[in-house]
Symmetry: C2
Subunit: 199 residues, 2 copies
């Protein structure tokens, strides 16, 4: 029974030691980001923190960008499954955002990678975030469709558009919150419930 890496990103290291090493890199990297901020995201800094050379990191990941995407994906996968069927669309959004800002460096990493994704015509980031937005939007839209059918959410705007708006709202408020922590992230995002409520 093989222990296949879950991600499409960085397929190397399928053997036991390689897999362990790969996990160690991902686990440590997010900590380095949290501790050292932007200065801790270079290959050499991360490698130093782990105790290997920067060339070793490139043995497991094709590029710095690929490593960063894998780190984000890994950190995101560690979060609790958001799929309480009882939770409303806005509740899911608020929960995700709250967990996000609770991990130091997470919003910064997200923001950096999204910026890279929209800058580069064809890079690891672009592919990852295009797929991610598609997936998150689809999930959110389905939830909203159910709520529209149940009569709790307004149906004068289609679910896909509402999903796009809620995700944009969440991303944007997280950014503003980092620049002005006096903003009440949870409260602000929760107000979306009133905005999308059935009339």
């Amino acid at each position: 029974m093989e222990n296949e890496p879950k991600s499409v990103i960085g397929r190397r290291g399928s053997y036991a030691k390689g897999v362990a090493r790969r996990q160690e890199i991902l686990d440590r990297a997010i900590e380095v980001f949290a501790e050292r901020g932007a200065d801790g995201t270079s290959l050499r800094r991360i490698a130093e923190a782990i105790g290997v050379s920067h060339a070793t990191l490139l043995h497991y990941f094709d590029s710095r960008e690929q490593l960063l995407v894998a780190v984000y994906e890994h950190a995101e996968s560690l979060r609790q499954a958001p799929e309480d069927l009882e939770q409303s669309s806005v509740d899911v959004m608020v929960a995700a955002a709250t967990e996000n800002v609770g991990v130091p460096g997470m919003v910064q990493l997200y923001s950096t990678l999204v910026a890279t994704a929209i800058e580069e015509p064809a890079g690891e980031s672009k592919e990852f975030f295009t797929r991610r937005f598609e997936r998150v939007r689809t999930d959110m839209a389905q939830r909203l469709r159910d709520e529209q059918a149940a009569g709790t959410v307004r149906d004068d705007i289609d679910a896909e558009t509402l999903a796009t708006m809620l995700i944009a709202l969440s991303d944007g408020v997280q950014t503003q919150w980092l620049l002005d922590p006096s903003i009440d992230l949870r409260d602000t995002l929760s107000r979306a419930t009133a905005l999308i409520a059935a009339r």
Copy 2:
């Protein structure tokens, strides 16, 4: 009569030739971004496109980051004054976003600088965007307050919070649109009118 630079950013170049050169740099830089994408944002690339040495750029701007902020500020200042008093808050947001995405490289530059702003504890970007969000939020909130008083916008959410939400929405949708141009930016943002309408 001195011809003082309008911005706090990059105060050098008060003499005739210097002022002209500085304008040329700002004008050309945004074009280079549009033409060459992320690969065109290095000092050496920009300098090459303008026909000067990269050291010259640092004569007018203290750092690459400061140059990039100045370029963004300059490009933004070229836009038509958004202050038609007849326009609604959402109309202003939609107009600004539409003009934004109409300038190639603009959203990418914005995104890159915001990412830098939230990464660096104390940098040019952080100061600029903290102030900018504050200003844009205040302007938008005032507009919303007027609309609440006029009875066209719901007043169960305070104007400051609504302003934060509208700005977040605009930023977020622009990002998603770059990764998936099938999203109708104008239509999606315009739907906000219904969301914040008085009940």
